[in-house]
Each structure stands twice: as C-alpha cells, then as structure tokens.
C-alpha cells in the first residue's frame, strides 16, 4: 500500500480534515489529520483500510504545539501506517482511540501522564508509570533533567 492509496481511501470520509499523507520509509505512509477528525480517521483506518492492530501511541512536545502519533499494523497488507495529529499546547486533547482499538488504553494512559495530552472519553485515564497524584509531565521539554533543586521540589510535591 502506497501513501497515495491511503490518501484516496481516507479523503472520501475525511475531506479537508485530512491534511495529507507523507511518505515514510518502511511504512505505508504518515497520515496527518486534524485533531477534530480523530474518531473518523480511526474508524476508517480500522474498518476500511483494515489496520486492525494498534501498536503504539506516542506524543511529542514541539514546545509551540504537541503531536500525537499512532502506529497501526494491517495483517492484510503487512505494513505499518503512522497517524499523526497536531494539537495546540494549551489545549492538548484528542478523542480516545479505545472504542476502535482496545489496546490504546494503556498507551493513552502513558501518553497522557508523560506528554500531557488528554484523551477524551478514555475509560480509565489514571496514572500508569508515575505515582498517583504526580502533577508533572516528564516528557515535556520544560521538564529539565540535571537540576537537583528542582527535582527535590518535584519529589516533595508528589
């Protein structure tokens, strides 16, 4: 499956909410979609394109905005597909993928606590790796390592 095929299949349902499909070596492409089209994108990728296996959900903090990406796999074409959406840094939230892929549950919990991206309608958005009540999001760029005084504050505030 080529990026063009993916774009053709997705554009019917998404229209202009599909921002483009880039080439990505080793995968079927990198789909960029608008955050408000999340659930539609997931459904069409899962049902129409047949990517039934969600491998990974991750977030990247680009300081001015945040990016959330999904890696999905299809057993039919035996290829990966990467979905990616940009979210504003001050209101980083996107629809949860758990209704489509059950496996998104833990990945989204992890992304939420590490990169501070909220997943709406997630069934169980609790801390996974960090202790309960931990208020920081370590994978944000503003969370600096190698600053012991700050670290002390962070530990105390937990």
């Amino acid at each position: 499956m080529q990026p063009d095929d993916v774009a053709r299949a997705l554009s019917t349902r998404l229209g202009d909410r599909l921002l483009g499909v880039e080439t990505f070596v080793g995968t079927a492409g990198r789909v960029r979609f608008r955050a408000d089209a999340a659930l539609d994108t997931f459904h069409s990728v899962h049902d129409e394109l047949g990517f039934r296996h969600l491998s990974m959900v991750g977030g990247i903090d680009w300081v001015d905005h945040r990016e959330v990406f999904y890696v999905v796999w299809s057993d039919d074409v035996r290829q990966y597909l990467i979905l990616s959406a940009d979210l504003p840094a001050d209101a980083a939230h996107i629809e949860s993928a758990t209704p489509v892929w059950e496996s998104a549950n833990w990945h989204e919990r992890e992304t939420w606590e590490l990169v501070d991206i909220t997943f709406d309608h997630h069934p169980d958005l609790r801390h996974l790796l960090m202790p309960d009540g931990y208020v920081f999001h370590p994978l944000l760029r503003s969370f600096k390592l190698h600053e012991p005084e700050e670290l002390e504050v962070k530990q105390r505030s937990v």
């Binding site: 990505f24 070596v25 080793g26 995968t27 990198r30 039934r52 296996h53 969600l54 491998s55 990974m56 991750g58 990247i60 903090d61 990406f69 890696v71 796999w73 057993d75 035996r78 290829q79 990966y80 990467i82 892929w101 059950e102 496996s103 549950n105 833990w106 990945h107 590490l114 801390h127 996974l128 790796l129 960090m130 202790p131 370590p138 994978l139 969370f143 390592l145 190698h146």
Partner: protein, 381 residues
C-alpha cells in the same frame, strides 16, 4: 470466603520483576485483575533526550535486561533511519546473529522462570546453565554478559574474535540436544500437561484487539512474524519457518517458544556460515565524526546544527523475543535525539491481562504470567 483484592507484587515471586498484579478473588477464583506498573520506571525516554545518539545505547541494554542486544538493534535501526546512515553488510549480519542468540538466551531465561513457577526446580537450573553458554558467547565479542553496549550507529563496535563461529556452533549443538531434554521434562510429564492445557486462553481475535504480539499471538494460530512479514536487516536472506500453534493456551506458548529456539538455531547456522566467508568492515567508514566515535568532542553544543545535518524521522520495528518492539526516533538536527519513543511488546501483553486471567485459579496465575514472559524493564522503561 468473600471477595477480596489480593496484591501480587511488587515483591512477589510470580512477578519476575517489579510490578503489582492486583487480583480480585473469590476463594481461589479470579474475578478481576488490574496490573499496576511503574515500579521500575527510570525515564529512559527522557534521559535519551539528554544524551547523544550513541550514548542512548547504554540505556537500551537496561531497557530489557534479558534481550539487550535485540533492543540495541531496535534503537539503532530507528536511529540510522533518522540520521541517514547505512551500516555495512557484515554489521547487519552480526546484528541479526545477536538478535537470534539473544532470542535463544531470552527464551531460555523464560523457560527457567516459567518452570520454576510451576514448581519444577531442576529445569530452572538447566535453563540458566544453558543460557550462560550463550552469555559466554556474547561476552567473548561484546565484553559483557548482560549490558553489552555493542552496536553503534553505523555498525557494531568491533568484529568477532577469531574462532568465534566454531565456538558458537558448538554451543548450538549442545543446545539442540538440550531442547529434547526440556521437552521430556515438561511435555513428558502428565502433571505439566494437566496444569498447562487449556489455561490462559487468549484467542487470536482478542490478541489483535488488545495489541498482543509475539509468541502469545503466534500461539493463537496467527502467523505473524516481522522477520517474515516485514524483513528488516538481513532476514530476507535467511531460510526459516515461523512457529505457530493454535491452542492459544499455555502449552501452545511453550511449544511456540521451543520451536522458535530451534528455528533460531537454524538461522544462526546460516548466519555463521555467511560470516565465515565474508570478512569486511563492521562500521560504516564515511560517518560524521561523532557518530562513528562513541563520544562527542568538546565544544559539541550545536555542532550538528551548525553543519546543517539533515533532519529526519526514524521508525523501526523488530521481532524481539517477547514480541514486536518499535522505536520512533525524531532527529531535529541536534546532537541529541529530540524524542525517542519505544513500544514494548510486554507492555501490550500485560495490558491484556484481564482477558487471559479472569476465570482461572490463583494457582494458575504463575504459569499464565510465566507464559506471557514478563520483562518489566521494557514495560516501564
């Protein structure tokens, strides 16, 4: 007895690591479960952002302490894609050899822990003993037994020592005899079959829904192996079969892993033959300086940015002993990776715990979780 929540972990012989399995039980029946992770969270993804590309390798060995070389390979593949570097062919073969030996070592470790959970004491020692031979091999060319730090962006650290392939073949011969013995000790025993048959069922449909990969998925009859489906490295050149079983229970997982070890032996013989006849460089020679060397020179701040090193994204997926591991590396032109994200197969396998634990007995938890092959280091990262 009324219902109660039982904390199995974080310090519990069943956990094989540091995590907490909370189970709700009624008498001996499991009604619900809730795995709690994070006791071993070291922030490897965060630390990686503060190290440059080769220094991340030291973290990869600690990511999964039973499959360090496979994780190094995973990271290196993604980093090379992000940095636009191609390794020499011999390095690729050596890496594949590391992968397969690591698979054998990891599966032996799994075997040892799994039978120990069942109360079988001596096979535990046999598994550890035979794994040590593989570690000896690793030690002879990487210099360490567990934290190898062997692969580099653009190749591997050093070539194999003289006589390595012969020693490796000897180990493979020894192991081939042992697999038979392992089967006799486990499959030959009625008690083992009574305990493991029809236990921890996870159908192929549930596997896909919950993202379960690796031997667990293949034990459900689904033939998916990245080495075949998406041949990275040099796996296209190798002749091997994918081990599949269809019972989807603990015995099936045992069978799949045993068969995988045999297939790994088969692959390794091919790789060793190739290595015998194709000497060559093991590190790409036209590398930017600090990618080839393991260190950055002083005054490195902004070094790559000044030189307009091309940006890039790297994504790799490797059939690790536990399943499909993935890495996503963002190169923003700096000397450190901007973001490194790993997908651990065990992470997904544990998250599906509710599907394969509920409805069984408390006494079944150790064999079921043993058949999942938990490695907490890579779950928590």
């Amino acid at each position: 007895m009324s219902e109660m929540w039982l904390n199995m972990g974080p310090q519990h012989p069943m956990t094989h690591g540091l995590w907490n399995l909370r189970v709700k039980i009624d008498g001996e029946m499991i009604l619900d479960c809730d795995p709690e992770m994070g006791y071993l969270h070291r922030g490897i993804e965060k630390i990686s952002e503060d190290r440059h590309y080769n220094e991340v390798i030291t973290l990869m060995d600690r990511c999964c302490y039973v499959a360090g070389l496979a994780w190094e390979h995973l990271y290196i593949l993604a980093a090379e894609q992000a940095l636009h570097v191609t390794p020499p062919e011999r390095a690729d073969y050596i890496r594949a050899m590391c992968d397969e030996f690591q698979r054998i070592a990891s599966h032996l470790m799994w075997y040892a822990a799994f039978v120990q959970d069942l109360g079988l004491m001596s096979p535990f020692l046999y598994g550890m003993r035979d794994r040590d031979l593989v570690l000896d091999l690793f030690q002879s060319f990487t210099g360490a037994r567990m934290t190898y730090e062997y692969q580099r962006v653009g190749g591997v650290r050093s070539d194999l020592p003289a006589g390595f392939t012969d020693r490796a073949r000897k180990v493979l011969d020894w192991l081939d005899e042992r697999y038979v013995e392992y089967d006799r000790l486990c499959l030959g025993s009625t008690i083992f079959r009574e305990r493991c048959d029809d236990l921890g069922k996870l159908t192929a449909r549930d596997c896909i829904a919950t993202g379960v990969t690796g031997p667990m998925l293949r034990s459900a009859g689904l033939k998916r192996d990245l080495r075949k489906d998406r041949p990275y490295s040099i796996y296209k050149q190798l002749d091997f079969d994918v081990a599949v079983a269809d019972a989807a229970d603990v015995t099936a997982r045992y069978l799949v892993r045993m068969e995988e070890m045999r297939q790994s032996s088969r692959m390794l013989r091919q790789i060793l033959d190739w290595l015998d006849h194709h000497p060559g460089p093991v590190l790409a020679d036209r590398l930017p300086r600090w990618l080839g060397a393991p260190y950055a020179p002083q005054g490195r701040e902004g070094y790559l940015l000044k030189r307009n090193y091309p940006k890039g994204l790297g994504f790799s997926s490797v059939e690790e002993p536990h399943g499909e591991a993935q890495a996503y590396v963002v190169n923003e032109g700096g000397e450190h990776p901007y973001r490194v994200k790993f997908r651990s197969p065990v992470f997904a396998n544990i998250s599906a715990a509710r599907h394969y634990l509920v409805g069984y007995h408390v006494a079944d938890i150790p064999p079921i979780m043993g058949s999942v092959d938990v490695c907490v280091g890579e779950v928590d990262r």
